[in-house]
Amino acid sequence: MNNAQFAPWEDPAAKPLIEFKGVTKNYGTFTAIDNIDLKIYPREFFALLGPSGCGKTTLMRMLGGFETVTKGSITIDGEDMAGIPPNKRAVNMMFQSYALFPHLSVADNLAFGLKRSDMPKSEIQGRVEEMLRLVKLQKFAGRKPHQLSGGQKQRVALARALAKAPKLLLLDEPLGALDKKLRQETQFELMDIQEKTGTTFVIVTHDQEEAMTVASRIAVMDDGKLVQVDTPDRIYEAPNSVYVADFIGDVNIIEGGVSNVSGEAAELSWSEGKPAIKGVSGERIQKGSSGAFAIRPEKIAISRDKPVDVHNCVQGVVEDIAYLGNMSTYYVRLDNGSLIKAQTANSRRIARRGLTWEDSVWLSWTDTAGIILPT
């Protein structure tokens, strides 16, 4: 999905399906959503990611029509949604609690929305069967929700939300209740269904790995604001702030002052008497201001001898080693006291060198491996 062809957000002529314009949501004096601008395009798999209480559910519920907007406007397919109740929106929601009707069978749960649409009666049965097939629950059509397992319930909830072929499907932590294996399976199932049906998905998740796996774009939220909206690889490779870098995946942060900025490259002086670190220049950094260098552990090479021809290299002592099967993470203490994580594949070449605790080592990385961000 993250192929080059599908990137409507880069096309200024593309028409967004959803547009938030200066959307604010207050609960009393508390601001849950703070002046958000956002465009989501048709067929996107859009993930909202952020810590608990940052306003993900609130944003979603405003799209569904369950919360009013305090300020600003939300348009779906060019239509202003202000005052439009949930039943009049071409949006369906998969609830975190699944919200299956306990008095109805699986098939009747799926038919519930169809019976209240303008679909002719004769077609409903067929559509229900199609949905049952989609989520592989044909055998369970007659069961009541309380006779289903957690994963089956979740699939019914998904099928029910998809049955009316909404333009937009909202999923609030849809996989929260599943164990890791089922979760991964379902993630791929979700992506598959999304591609098959062409529905636009907006998914809320706590789990950054999940967001990275399924999403075409990710919005990282903090405290009611969007911190960064970008593709998963950009979020990972080019976070726009220390917050995002820290939130997504493992990262080393080295703080200092921005000593030089020249186009794509920048330098950070971080320790007296040591050469400045070279990295990619992040957004909004300025020479002379404070900054932080962020680098992923797997981008750092570790060696016993000082590598030649590499500008960025620092010396330290191995403090701890974590073996992760095919990978090892080395925790290296630098002279200035900071702890850096470096991750390497356990190839034989490195294993033979036998790095161990208390060894003095060199860490090195290329000039484009890390990014210098404003703080």
Binding site: P86, S97, A99, F101, H146
Partner: protein, 299 residues
């Protein structure tokens, strides 16, 4: 199953046997006897002067279904049964009509209020039932509070005659049995997950549509339980019709009382009671089935 477990399960059965089956058999026995001016006021009684065996045979020979035949001949009785059924059905529906909105309001109230609201519903039970019914006489009589109020506001110029009519009986029953309706409905509505309503809205229901297709459905077990809890005691109700109802209010409970205490015709009164119980068995069994189903659904 070990002995103590058996004993534990046995307790409710012993209870039923001693406090229900034995009294019922005594009443049934009396209903098969004949009226007599004696103490007790019926024959035959067990006379063991010629030995136990002869006494029991004499007893057996004296029993017949004459009283039950009598009940079918005098139209007072079946009319009283029918009228009781009618009053019980209407009163149950009225109680439902009043009780459902109350339960719904309670269940939608903020959680911190619910306990107090629940208390308010239960509170009247802490005073004597008789006193509360007498209080209604004070409210409903021609010179009562209600009429004084209506005439003071000018809504009516003449006092409304409510006391000693069927209306007063309905008011009394609705008032008395309201908690039996409200509590089961409340408990089923309280469990209702707000997101189910939101899901219904999301799938195209209007607010009212969501109420009909979700709320009402999920409140059904509570509605059924509440209705039986009102219907069953109302059918044999005696105090309310005799205090609030008029001479024309015909209810089997009143007939039973008069047969027993005014006519002192124990055998006929016993026959009336046996029939009443048989009529009640149907709703009681249905009620039990509803409860059973609910318990299974909750699993």
């Amino acid at each position: 199953m070990n002995f103590s477990r058996k004993a534990l399960i046995g307790i409710p059965y012993v209870w039923l046997l001693v406090l229900f089956l034995v009294p019922f058999l005594i009443v049934f026995k009396i209903s098969l006897s004949d009226y007599a001016i004696s103490i007790p006021p019926y024959t035959p009684t067990l006379d063991t002067t010629n030995g136990w065996w002869a006494g029991i045979r004499e007893l057996w020979a004296g029993w017949d279904f004459e009283n039950f035949v009598f009940l079918t001949q005098d139209d007072l009785y079946w009319k009283a049964y029918l009228s009781s059924l009618k009053i019980a059905v209407i009163a149950t529906l009225l109680t439902l009509l009043v009780g459902f909105p109350i339960a719904y309001g309670m269940a939608s109230a903020p959680p911190e209020w619910r306990t107090s609201l629940l208390m308010l519903v239960i509170l009247p039970f802490w005073t004597s039932f008789l006193i509360r019914v007498y209080a209604w006489i004070g409210i409903l009589s021609n010179e009562g509070f209600l009429n004084q109020f209506l005439m003071w506001t000018g809504i009516t110029s003449e006092p409304l005659v409510i006391l000693n009519t069927d209306w007063a009986v309905y008011i009394g029953i609705v008032y008395t049995y309201l908690p039996f309706m409200v509590l089961p409905i409340y408990s089923s509505l309280e469990k209702l997950d707000e997101s189910l309503i939101e899901a219904a809205l999301d799938l195209g229901c209007t607010r009212i549509g969501a109420f009909w297709s979700v709320t009402i459905h999920l409140a059904k077990p509570g509605v059924i339980a509440g209705s039986f809890l009102v219907f069953i005691p109302t059918l044999g109700e005696f105090v309310i019709p005799s205090l609030l109802g008029g001479s024309k209010t015909l209810m089997i409970g009143k007939v039973l009382w008069e047969e027993f205490f005014s006519n002192r015709d124990w055998p006929v009164a016993a026959a009336v009671a046996v029939i009443l119980l048989m009529i009640l068995i149907v709703p009681i069994v249905l009620f039990q089935q509803n409860q059973q189903k609910q318990r299974e659904a909750a699993k």
